[in-house]
Amino acid sequence: MGHVRLGVLPRTKAWKEVVGLIAAGADVSQVANATITAAEKAFSFVMDDKGYTEAVWLMTQLSIAAKKDDPYAHLRSVGISLPDDATLPDVTAGITDALDRAVDSSRKRSDLAELSGRALVGAVAEALQPHLNGLFPNDKDTMRAALSNLGKQKEFGDLSRSFYDRLTNQSLQYFLSKTLATQVGDGMRFATMNQKAQFDHALDTHTREASVIVRDFSSEWFSKHRFEEGGDISRKSSDGFAGYALKKMKDELQAGARTSAN
């Protein structure tokens, strides 16, 4: 009981380059770029991934629901069931359930689906938390008010940015966690755990800064499509957004977005 299955990076040319760059002391932007390049094939399947497209769809629907007369009814229609006096854990657990159901029914569980779920839950929790009074709101209107914020153009941009920041960061760490810890020790890239933690922190900063490009694009896209589609956003539009937003994020990271972590 309690087993954990871990893996290491394969010894192909592209992944050896990633490992070599880390060992030689390359900064996070170059390591991120090399990782995305090495993982190009894995990322090429992203639009076939039910978990990823469903996560983006639910993100758009959380914002669409905010402007509906009965937001909870709209959320229920897309699979997110919330009690009247919903708390933050009700919302995050509701989203997790909805995603799991969609992925399970398609029989397409995947690691990317898991990473997408983590990113969405993290982004929503981050967006709602400042508007709530801890885990136990005083009244049921608190959560409704917090959710209604997500319907604003700017707020959708922020939510989307947070989602793509987390998704790319988690995806990069999905690969990099198969090698970073092997380079900890005296005379190695990271002499101490603290140095490795600083690298992780710098990678967080790097993806967060790169995600600015998604925020601007997302808020404009959301406003335009909600208007054109009469207050709703279709799955087709959402899928189109999912493909383009991730491409923008990848391109930005591959262009070597500068970070303050250098």
Partner: protein, 705 residues
């Protein structure tokens, strides 16, 4: 997801179901219809215990055995990064003969079975239940043994792995609550038999007249079938056997004892997704088992885990409180049973061993858990395997991260997996979230407490650096601090444009942007370095090839700087890097060539100044010859390098090397690649770097830092 596999159980036919029979897996339980490839044995059943059970339980036992066996037959391809680990998950369609096909084929039962198993093992399940043709008795799987005394009617069935948690649970039941229990143990390997027996005897001594009854379960598969060790679906078999025994005893519950941190098993790092962290006693799985067993029993059935809110250190404290600390060393936690020896009962490096060591240390009980039982000491020794290094570092990093979180909201955002458990715990989701956060906070506190204690004990070894450089205690020396500040702030201004060798790699920076690294294109990077060092100077490619070839010999790290540049004052530190002449076949000849090349560098300058083109060409020819001789003398990787004996070969090799280097640069810095493409001009045998406007480059190598 792997391609679908059909698992045909017993004598069922694939006709009309499977479309590719040669890929099907056939599983057959021995004793059903003669010799099969799986054997199920439930041992030490006391004859007084036995009573007939409903046939649905008999079906359940067989279904669980088939699911568990299939799990070990199919290899999980977890490490395929090109598909985001797609091969980890299996798509399984079982065809199982049962006594009650209508019951098992009902939507409610199938849904409960597939959703619980799907979450447990991360696989897709589909079941087709067909009518069993040849009935047999459940006693075919039971081995009766009345050697153990029965001390009254058992009140509780407890799953007993022999680990610290189930040991504490058994002691709790027997000593504190004075309940009569049956302990059910799955014996996955005979290696543990002696230790199980010792633990059983010691438990009996402690129990007085309330000795628990032990039942062992073995599932034996023919050798070629043991291909996958992960056993993600093991607890389904375990609980099915426990429930069947409970039913025989007229009970309606089974109990697991597992600490909450292991039950929830939150990922230790980003690569651990889904079922990569086992969900053996995850609350959602326990609820699924409970609901399935309620359907099978046609009456409420309970599956619970009283230790869900305890950490492992708290479990250890419970054992000590029960005055049974002497049993700790006989319990078995290690998951790497194949590494187990009589001397070393624990590997010391698997996730469970790490958690155990931290727990006993945090509980101040490590004196009861001798270090010499561990093959490796996680605190003070090197870890050779990469996954062991990752496991240890990730375990610590998670504790450090949890410790830094300020509230349950941040915890939910950071560990989204928690959201999968909230609706399966007592109380509201908010209450459950807070309790899970508190549990993990306590665990993180215990991890850091244990670490502090070990640092204190080994402070001298850490300071004197007598522990290995990658030992955990050395690596965590600054553990706990997120940002460290350099002791002396660097005031050196980094030049805007850099192209230089740094140690074993090339370092470059253009127009003040990030400093990047280049590897695998040493030759071309060396040529570019030479060109950037001398802008506007038209140079023969043979001259550069000669310079580079000489450098390859005199400077093993291949600094890329021509000998005359060193004389001109490049800050190459003389010493170790210059002393190794490499693998030269005839060092004396090479030295003579080098000396001659130096002369030719002077002569070619003079000939150019005098505009003596015939002499320049003559010198170039001689340089070409020398370059070839030196290159062959050096060799690469022990092989003789053939430069070719024509000028064109040298020119082509030069240009190809430069092009490869620019292409490699382009991956990380497109503006620099474009700049180099635009400004490095080739014409016949001459090459020149001609930037407009001028760019100042720092090309000095850094060979010792």
């Amino acid at each position: 997801m792997q391609t679908k596999k059909y698992v045909l159980c017993g004598n069922t036919s694939a006709k009309g179901i499977s479309d590719d029979p040669k890929n099907d897996i056939r599983l057959r339980l021995s004793g059903v219809q003669g010799e099969g490839n799986i054997t199920l044995r439930i041992e030490d059943i006391h004859s007084k215990m036995f009573s007939s059970v409903p046939t649905k339980f008999h079906d359940l036992l067989e279904i669980a055995t088939y699911v568990y066996s299939a799990d070990q037959v199919i290899v999980r391809g977890a490490d395929d990064v090109d598909s985001f680990g797609d091969g980890w998950r299996c798509d399984l369609h079982f065809v199982v003969p049962v006594r009650n096909p209508d019951f098992w084929n009902s939507a409610e039962v199938k849904d409960k079975l597939t959703s619980t198993l799907g979450f447990l093992s991360d696989d897709n399940y589909e079941f087709t239940f067909v009518k069993l043709e040849q009935e047999h008795s459940i006693q075919d799987y039971l081995e009766f043994n009345d050697a153990q005394a029965m001390y009254g009617k058992p009140e509780q069935v407890v799953m007993f792995s022999g680990g610290l948690d189930s040991l504490a649970g058994a002691l709790d039941e027997v000593l504190s609550q004075k309940r009569r229990v049956v302990l059910v143990t799955h014996k996955a390997t005979p290696k543990l038999n002696t230790r199980h027996k010792t633990l059983q005897d010691l438990l009996a001594q402690k129990a007085g007249d309330n000795v628990p009854h032990h039942i062992s379960v073995r599932v034996h598969k023919k050798k070629p079938m043991n291909r996958e060790y992960t056993q993600r679906s093991r607890s389904f078999l375990f609980v099915s056997i426990g429930a069947t025994i409970a039913k025989m005893l007229g009970l309606n519950s089974v109990r697991f004892y597992e600490n909450g941190v292991i039950s929830l098993n939150l990922p230790v790092c980003a690569q651990v997704v889904g079922g990569r962290a086992t969900r053996t006693t995850h609350p959602r799985v326990m609820r699924g088992f409970q609901e399935l067993l309620t359907l099978v029993a046609e009456a409420p059935f309970t599956v619970d885990n009283p230790y869900i809110w305890k950490t492992k250190a708290e479990v250890v404290e419970q054992i000590i409180k029960a005055d049974c600390a002497d049993l700790i060393k006989h319990s078995m936690t290690c998951t790497h049973t194949w590494e187990m020896t009589n001397q070393h009962t624990h590997c010391g490096l698997c996730s469970q061993c790490i958690d155990r060591r931290f727990a006993v240390t945090a509980a101040k009980a490590d004196q009861y858990d001798p270090l010499d039982h561990y093959k490796a000491d996680v605190f003070t020794q090197s870890r050779n395997k990469d996954d062991d290094k990752i496991m240890t570092a990730s375990y610590l990093e998670r504790a450090n991260q949890v410790k830094s979180l300020e509230n349950a909201g941040q915890f939910l955002a950071t560990y989204a997996e928690v959201n999968r458990v909230l609706r399966f715990l007592d109380g509201s989701t908010a209450q459950a979230a807070q309790r899970v956060f508190d549990l993990y906070k306590r665990h993180a506190g215990e991890v850091t407490t244990a670490l502090d204690e070990m640092v204190r004990r080994h402070a001298t070894a850490i300071r004197e650096r007598t522990t290995p450089g990658d030992a955990l205690l050395r690596a965590v020396h600054e553990f706990g601090s997120v940002i460290s500040v350099p002791a002396v702030a660097s005031k050196e201004k980094v030049p805007d444009n850099i192209f230089r060798k740094r140690g074993a790699v090339w370092e470059f920076r253009f127009q003040g942007k990030s400093t990047l690294l280049l590897q695998g294109v040493d030759k071309g990077a060396g040529y570019i370095n030479l060109l950037l060092a001398h802008p506007e100077r038209e140079t023969s490619v043979f001259e550069i090839a000669c310079g580079s070839a000489i450098n390859a010999i005199t400077l093993p790290a291949n600094t890329g700087v021509a000998p005359e540049d060193i004389e001109e004052g490049f800050s190459v530190v003389e010493g170790a890097p210059l002393t190794d002449a490499g693998d030269v076949a005839d060092r004396q000849a090479i030295n003579q060539y080098r000396a001659r090349v130096k002369e030719l560098f002077s002569e070619i300058e003079e000939a150019r100044d005098a505009e003596d083109h015939a002499r320049v060409e003559e010198i170039e020819k001689e340089m070409e010859f020398l370059a070839k001789a030196i290159e062959e003398g050096k060799g690469l990787g022990g092989r003789q390098r053939k430069m070719g004996d024509k000028r064109k070969n040298v020119r082509d090799a030069f240009r190809n090397a430069v092009d490869r280097a620019i292409k490699a640069i382009e991956k990380y810095d497109k503006p620099l690649a474009a700049h180099l493409k635009d400004t490095i001009k080739n014409s016949n045998n001459e090459v020149v770097y001609r930037p407009q406007p001028a760019v100042v480059w720092d090309v000095r190598p850094i060979v010792n830092e």
